[in-house]
């Protein structure tokens, strides 16, 4: 496992280690089963097209889970992901990379807990934001 991130390692404006995901149609089917989201727009192309979409789309919540993975990878086993939010801004299609990125926006100590807030987003290969959101984490301190 990578080395544990501490509150003192983080600077406002600093980058979160990006995460690149390559969702496939098969992954969308596995996700449907695991998440209980059986909306056919995520695995039935004809259905998706009949609903005005170009093809099956990657579920927003899976992109949310990718952003969650980026955060839990970054904060390590001793970090706590307290809040995660994201809104879905654009469509993402299987076969296209989803790149998750983020930046630290704030850090502060409250009730002796060490909080870090971040802004997050996910991009398609054209660099367009398909989702954006925020996270609040609690990190261990060396102090």
């Amino acid at each position: 496992m990578s080395k544990q991130l501490h509150y003192e390692d983080v600077t406002v404006g600093g980058e979160i280690t990006p995460l690149v995901k390559q969702p496939t149609t098969m992954q969308l089917v596995v996700w449907a089963g695991a998440s209980g989201d059986y909306n056919p727009i995520h695995y039935d192309k004809d259905f998706a097209q009949s609903r005005g979409l170009a093809g099956v789309i990657v579920p927003g919540q899976l992109i949310g889970a990718f952003l969650g993975q980026m955060m839990t990878d970054w904060i390590g086993g001793k970090g706590v992901l307290r809040k995660l939010s994201c809104s879905y801004k654009g469509m993402s299609y299987p076969g296209e990379a989803v790149t998750c990125k983020g930046k630290v926006t704030k850090k502060y100590v409250q009730n002796s807990e060490h909080f870090v807030e971040c802004s997050l987003w996910a991009e398609n290969p054209k660099g367009e934001k398909i989702a954006s959101g925020k996270a609040m984490v609690i990190l261990p301190s060396r102090g």
Partner: protein
């Protein structure tokens, strides 16, 4: 003929949406889910998350709450309003403690808000759902808010 049946559909959809509006703030029936190791593993595999933190299925990643009771929630929603399509607009989660294998999680969903707009696809409902997740010790482990667009 076609135009008329379309009009009738719109009227039906509006009355269903009115029904949904009358339920704003009302908690739906609580539902219980026992969390198994394989559910956690299936979830992390679906995300493609190889972190050793959850590989043995003992502890779930924070976003696992998205999977708890979601299928039942969508069924409950569609039985109130048979939308043609629903799209997720956004998600917010708050996690107070990790969910572990063997936990029995009780979920309660409610509609927090609803507004309607005419969109490209006709009448669209922008709904906010709030859900809470308690464990077998009645401790609040997580909360979730989902923005869902139905049309």
């Amino acid at each position: 003929m076609l135009a008329q049946s379309k009009l009738l559909d719109v009227a039906k959809a509006s009355s269903d949406i009115e029904k949904l509006k009358s339920k704003i703030g009302v908690e739906w029936q609580p539902r219980e889910y026992e969390i198994g190791r394989d559910m956690i593993r299936r979830f992390t595999r679906a995300v493609g998350d190889p972190s050793p933190l959850w590989q043995d299925g003992a502890v779930a990643p924070p976003t696992f709450i998205l999977a708890i009771g979601f299928e039942q929630f969508v069924n409950d929603l569609m039985s109130l309003v048979p939308f043609n399509t629903v799209l997720m607009g956004g998600t917010e989660i708050e996690c107070y403690q990790p969910i572990k294998r063997g936990d029995v999680i009780t979920t309660i969903f409610k509609i927090g808000g609803l507004r309607e707009r005419e969109g490209q696809m006709g009448r669209m409902a922008f709904m906010t759902f709030e859900s809470s997740y308690k464990n077998q010790r009645q401790e609040l482990v997580a909360k979730c808010r989902q923005m869902i667009i139905g049309y």
